[in-house]
């Protein structure tokens, strides 16, 4: 196991370093594909080893690393950030980096914590994250090779920095694997900072003014949140000697709740919850595979992952309830804002923030059933959202726009891409797909703790129905069209989309197994009892899935008496063109736009309210925790 872990963490890193070293584009992309495929394979090896196994502590050389080599790497990360801050004259980043340096110094002055002999830990929650980062991340990396080629073909003015791009992507995969496997809090913190660093370079990839501005926003908010973990390490070092994540999670460490709250603050920032949410919207300037990998499936999941880890400590505490309240409130407000957006990436960004909020609501409550729902949400969201981001990215290159209005009739022009998008969207909000199963479990879990949370979820899930359905309706509109059927999507992109489509549907069909073999073993460490899905409910959902799968077949068997006619336009139609002849013989084309309820939903106002509420709840939590 030890060597397997080491390979998993080092392999993407080596692949990344080769990107920076090798001058030949062909070989570079072959290495990327090989690394991604190997990562997917390795993740499956972990799945085979990890199912039903007890958690194990692992050394894999990281005890030595923590003792001898971690400090130089930490200093290197801070130096890079420092250089960047100086180069772009960003005072705030400068101050935050200085702050982090002082924190590092403080940690060493506070009696350097005795490193664990086995600083890594592998359990079912880590397994879930490894599968997400490995399989979904691997798929996204494969998609990115084709995407970046198109990107530079369409933007010839931009200098091609794809070696840096893929170095950062692969480094990020390494850091994510390290993050989810770390049990030692200082080691986890290092990986955490590396993901922040990768995120900065990937958001600023285009080097445009907005890109750099938004990259700094993301960097600053995440550095700010990072203090939470720093203080948690300090707190645990002083009170306990060794800051260990698993003892905090089990409540065995003295002052575990305080440490958990501090960690949760960092998690809220990383997962872009109110009041930290603004950075994720800005991060959408990055190339779409980055949004898919860092800003929906993997990096932002690191935040909710940590809060979920601390979930058992939060059970029944006021601090846990307040964290859950931030999550549920974020879910409601960002779901509402998403209704008013027509830019597909912004819709996806708001929906990501919303779903992360839902996971945090579950983790903050921390009962067995809530944790069950939260873990299921992480899995389903990662897969379906990655699929959506990637298909929007591909559509953007083919249509020249990321506006949902321009996807009118995509099913006619590009049926396979449209189908991928539809499966992703259905996976996000429709019964019997994954997200809905989790939302259902979340409502049943939350109502037992406090009715306010499921009420917020109930109000928040209504707008999600609205914006997903109108998007699907746009794609499915059968407009009369002459556009050529697009066959120029790169093979790598098709492969990644196909993989994620299969995963979205497959996990949904297998979810009782996921529940019993992956989630239950983790929950069994902290809780007694068992979460019942109920055989009857499972059967009902299988029937629904079956009906959905069979429904398209009814097109084949059609009533013989159907007669195609022109849609009603309240005038004389121009046959087959979606046009009508108006007064004085003028020909008009029909334009259909979706509703955005813009006069009812004010994005700025809602964001402001969210920030205000989020900040005040956060202050209450911190004040109460320190007092």
């Amino acid at each position: 196991m030890s060597s397997l872990v080491l390979i998993l963490i080092l392999l993407p890193l080596i692949g990344g370093l080769l990107q920076a070293a090798l001058p030949f584009p062909r070989i570079r992309s072959a290495i990327i594909l090989a690394t991604a495929a190997a990562t997917i394979g390795l993740a499956h090896l972990f799945l085979l080893r990890g199912i039903g196994a007890d958690p194990i502590q692992i050394d894999a050389g990281f005890a030595w690393f923590e003792r001898h080599a971690m400090l130089p790497v930490e200093i290197l990360v801070l130096l890079i950030l420092f250089t960047v801050a100086v180069k772009h004259r960003n005072v705030l980043t400068f101050l935050l980096v200085i702050g982090h340096a002082l924190l590092l110094l403080g940690l060493h002055r506070a009696g350097h914590p005795e490193p664990l002999a086995q600083p890594l830990r592998f359990d079912s929650l880590a397994l879930i994250m490894i599968m997400i980062v490995g399989v979904v991340g691997g798929g996204i990396t494969i998609h990115a090779t084709g995407y970046m080629r198109d990107h530079h073909r369409l933007h010839p003015a931009q200098p091609d920095r794809s070696p840096l791009f893929f170095f950062m992507i692969l480094l990020f995969l390494s850091a994510m694997f390290g993050l989810v496997l770390s049990d030692s809090l200082p080691l986890m913190f290092l990986f955490w900072e590396i993901t922040t660093l990768c995120s900065f370079f990937l958001i600023s990839y285009e080097r445009s003014k907005t890109a750099i501005k938004n990259a700094f926003l993301a960097l600053n908010l995440n550095l700010l949140g990072g203090f939470g973990i720093g203080f948690a390490i300090l707190h645990q070092t002083v009170h306990h000697g060794t800051p260990v994540l698993s003892t905090i999670a089990s409540g065995a460490a003295p002052g575990a709740l305080m440490a958990a709250v501090l960690i949760a603050v960092a998690g809220l920032a990383k997962s872009a919850q109110f009041p930290f949410s603004s950075w994720l919207l800005g991060a959408m300037v990055a190339p779409t595979p980055v949004s898919a990998l860092l800003h929906s499936s993997a990096m932002v999941k690191a935040g909710v992952y940590l809060i979920l880890r601390c979930g058992p400590v939060f059970e029944g505490t006021p601090a846990g309830f307040l964290i859950a309240l931030i999550g549920a409130g974020t879910f409601l407000i960002t779901s509402l804002i998403a209704v008013s957006q027509s830019n597909a990436k912004r819709v996806l960004a708001y929906s990501t923030i919303a779903n992360l909020g839902l996971i945090i609501a579950c983790a903050g409550i921390g009962t067995r059933q809530a944790m069950w729902a939260g873990m299921l949400l992480i899995i389903f969201h990662a897969v379906a959202k990655a699929l959506l981001f990637l298909s929007v990215g591909t559509a953007e290159h083919k249509l020249g726009s990321r506006d949902i209005e321009d996807m009118h009739g995509l099913i006619i022009c590009n049926p396979r891409l449209a189908l991928a998008m539809l499966i992703g969207a259905a996976g996000m909000f429709l019964a019997p797909f994954g997200m809905l199963i989790s939302k259902w479990a979340a409502i049943e879990a939350l109502i037992q703790a406090n009715p306010l949370l499921p009420i917020l979820v109930a109000f928040g899930s209504a707008p999600t129905l609205f914006f997903w359905t109108k998007w699907m309706g746009k794609i499915l509109a059968c407009r009369p069209t002459t556009c050529p059927i697009e066959r120029t999507v790169h093979l790598t992109e098709q492969a990644a989309l196909g993989l994620l489509c299969c995963l979205t549907v497959g996990i949904c069909a297998l979810f009782p197994l996921v529940g019993s073999h992956v989630i239950e073993p983790f929950l069994g460490l902290y809780y007694t009892g068992q979460v019942q899905i109920g055989l009857r409910n499972a059967i009902t959902m299988f029937i629904m899935l079956g009906v959905l799968a069979l429904l398209p077949l009814s097109v084949v068997y059609r009533s013989r008496r159907e007669r195609p006619v022109e849609p009603y336009l309240c005038a004389a139609n121009v046959t087959g063109a979606g046009q009508f002849i108006g007064s004085a013989g003028a020909v008009h084309t029909v334009h259909l736009r979706n509703y955005y309820l813009a006069d009812l939903i004010d994005e700025r106002l809602l964001n402001r309210v969210g920030h205000l509420l989020g900040a005040s709840i956060l202050l209450v939590i911190l004040a109460a925790a320190t007092w």
Binding site: I443, A462, M541, L551, S554, P564, V565, L600
Partner: protein, 286 residues
């Protein structure tokens, strides 16, 4: 076995019950307007006639969505009448409504497009209240299973007055009654081009009508749960509330979508307050 029997009974009887209710509604409405009105069985005659008509389509896929609309409505009803999980029922119900919206959106006529958008607004208006009602029924009964809620031995509506009111409020939307018949109205005086159903004709229109009958029975079943402790009170109460909807329908003109949406959410918020109060009252052991 008994479960399967209930499901079978629902699938076979619900359209007749729904059609009969629709006939009663039309008769009573006519009497309110001092007309004689159609025969009680007129809705069934309509369906037979629609099946005899030609099936005009604007694209090859639109009737596919109607199949989804009908099948998932039947699944939602089956979950409900088999005593299953009420939240799962609400989700299947939402899926069914979404199929109708997608069917209308695929037709790309401006009228059916606007109908689809308005139908979506109606769904968004109803969804929170439906979920809050389910949670409200859960609190006293201690279970989300319809069978357990129906077996609760005290009058549920006394625990949940605001929630019952809220459910009746959105019942108006679900039954497509004025003042909230935005996406499609049963009355010719409201509109000539019939919103969400503009591009459906003949047998397809008949399917929409039959699905609406299933929907009527299902949502009235939801109302029934509030009185389920005594069937002799519950049946007449549900029927009277249905007739009250007819009265509302005939005494109100259509309102704008904004009012529909905001007012339903305000009513749902009142229901939410009811829920919170009840939670703490039950916790205190009252």
């Amino acid at each position: 076995m008994q479960t399967l029997l209930y499901i079978l009974l629902f699938i076979l009887l619900a359209p007749f019950l729904g059609g009969l209710l629709c006939g009663i509604d039309r008769k009573v409405a006519a009497r309110m307007q001092r007309r004689v009105g159609p025969p009680l069985l007129q809705p069934f005659y309509d369906i037979i006639k629609l099946y005899g008509k030609e099936n005009l389509v604007v694209n090859l896929y639109q009737n596919l969505y109607l199949a989804g609309f009908l099948i998932f409505m039947i699944i939602a009803g089956s979950i409900f009448f088999a005593g299953g999980d009420i939240l799962l029922m609400i989700f299947a119900f939402a899926l069914s409504s979404i199929f109708l919206v997608l069917g209308a959106a695929s037709a790309t006529s401006p009228y059916s497009h606007i109908g689809a958008e308005r139908e979506l607004i109606q769904i968004m208006a109803c969804e929170p209240m439906l979920l809050i009602a389910a949670m409200g029924l859960y609190l006293p009964a201690g279970s989300f299973m319809v069978a357990d809620i129906a077996a609760f031995d005290r009058p549920m509506f006394l625990f949940l007055p605001a929630i019952l009111f809220g459910l009746l409020y959105i019942l108006t939307i679900k039954l497509r009654k004025s003042p909230f018949d935005l996406s499609m109205s049963h009355h010719a005086h409201q509109e000539i081009v019939k919103g969400v159903t503009t591009e459906f004709s003949g047998p397809a229109l008949a399917i929409i009508e039959i699905t609406h009958w299933y929907e009527t029975v299902l949502i009235l079943g939801f109302v029934y749960l509030f009185f389920a402790w005594n069937p002799w009170i519950a049946l007449p109460a549900t029927f009277l509330l249905f007739l009250a909807e007819t009265l509302v329908d005939n005494t109100n003109a259509r309102l704008k979508w904004r009012f529909t949406l905001t007012s339903s959410w305000i009513v749902a918020a009142a229901g939410a307050l009811n829920l919170i109060l009840l939670f703490y009252l039950l916790k205190a052991g009252i």
